[in-house]
Amino acid sequence: MIEIINLCKSFDEYQVLENLNLTIEKGQTQVIIGRSGCGKSVLLKTIIGLLKPDSGQVLIDTHDITRFNEEGLNRLRLRCGMLFQGAALFDSLSVGENVGFVLREHSGLDEASVAGRVSESLGLVDLVGVENLPPAELSGGMKKRVGLARAICARPDIILYDEPTTGVDPIMADAINTLIRQLHDKLEVTSIAVTHDMVNAYKIADRISMLYDGRIIESGTPEEIKKSRNPVVQQFIAGKAHGPITD
């Protein structure tokens, strides 16, 4: 279980997260929605220890990771996989080297076993025979899928998705959503996805929370969110230009 308690984070004068509270049950896919720049990615990076909060706690299985040193954080990170907005594939490595990176660095497996796991992970995201290609030769959708294969290659307990469908066409977005759902069902992982794409959110979420003004203002199942009476949530999910968010 992941529990975020009174989390605050600011950059210079700008308060991004303010007393944010959120609980994510084990094995659940939690989607966090909100406008661009509202702090969704900051929240993800704080959960995985890339950013240090100003105050508050992030409890993962009751351990407060904000108190962890680098070694403790690394132990936690080995339990996590993360898909970045732009995939963040290493340009200097091939697709296969990217996907097997964490295994080669930490698992001590021999090269044949790593190659097997790489093929298996690429297979899960419907990519076959691309191991030797450089990332520069891949399309945006393929990069996202390779990023996803890299995130799941070490069979993590927790997967974080930062805007998994941004920058890909609707058909590819749907394919990625289906993949995320399938991976969740097959690997039984706890997932946290941040997005502003409601189609994506409804498709993959067990629960949706809306981040607004640095706080979670509403949480619920996709159906509950659709029926929310909160005007801010309604404006956002309906994608209206006028309403309490913009007025």
């Binding site: 954080l73 993360m82 290493f90 340009d91």
Partner: protein
């Protein structure tokens, strides 16, 4: 006035913060060299990029430096009838000063810029964050192999530059100034002491540390997309140049008195 002093104070503090960041990164990288895992493949790849791919440009610059040095010194020394001092002057200037400094400047411009651009691009495209999420220390993974490659290749390139510079001087002195080959070679070896060569090589190791620390620091702190990477690259080269010349000044003064 108060505003001006406040801005001045802020700039001073920022400079201290910047200098502290570079020193911290350099120290972490040096300590990282002794901690496993060791990235042999990456070090060799960086050695190739930094060293072998710079051979031609170092060759050209050193050759022309040696040639110019002979012409300029001959212009003065011939008037005094001291042509025999040309060879020692070229050898000492190349080994103590011009070889290490010019090579470091070339490598700062070529490899330093490339390092900061590469690391900076990794930073703005979240590849550094990706490394960290996979429990890999970016200093150990990115900075240490580059530092080891620079510390190894810069002294070797300096020796190469010294040799080419001396050869450039030799060829002009023998071909154009009528100095005999044996006289030039003997004067060169008589003038050069081990201290002259080693002081130059010690400088080049310090220059390698400067180039790596500045270039990697600029890359790792790059922000703001392509423009930020461009700014980081320019700053990496400019700051490296300034620090190389400053460090050279300090070391030259030190070796003069020691």
């Amino acid at each position: 006035m108060k505003d001006y002093l406040s801005r001045l104070g802020k700039k001073f503090l920022n400079s201290l913060y910047y200098a502290g960041g570079i020193c911290t990164l350099g120290t972490k990288a040096v300590f990282g060299l002794f901690v496993p895992p060791f990235k042999g493949k990456q070090v060799l790849s960086q050695m190739n990029k930094i060293g072998l791919e710079s051979l031609f440009i170092v060759f050209l610059c050193s050759l022309f430096t040696g040639i110019v040095l002979v012409f300029q010194s001959a212009y003065q020394l011939q008037k005094l009838g001291a042509k025999e001092l040309i060879a020692p002057l070229v050898a000492l200037s190349m080994c103590r000063e011009l070889g290490p400094v010019f090579t470091a400047l070339i490598i700062a411009g070529r490899a330093g810029a490339s390092i900061s651009a590469e690391v900076g691009t990794m930073k703005v495209t979240e590849q550094i964050d990706a490394l960290q999420t996979m429990a890999v220390n970016p200093v150990k993974y990115l900075v240490c192999p580059r530092l080891l490659a620079l510390i190894t290749m810069l002294p070797l390139l300096t020796i190469y530059a010294n040799a080419i510079g001396i050869f450039g001087g030799y060829s002009i002195a023998v071909w154009k100034l009528g100095i005999t080959s044996s006289m030039y070679i003997n004067s060169t070896f008589e003038a050069l002491a081990l201290k002259d060569i080693f002081s130059g090589l010690l400088k080049s190791v310090i220059f390698a540390l400067i180039i790596c620390s500045v270039s990697c620091y600029e890359g790792l702190t790059a922000r703001g997309g392509a423009e930020g990477v461009g700014r980081a690259t320019t700053l990496a080269v400019v700051i490296s140049f300034i620090l190389i010349i400053s460090a050279d000044c300090l070391f030259t003064a030190f070796f003069y008195f020691v």
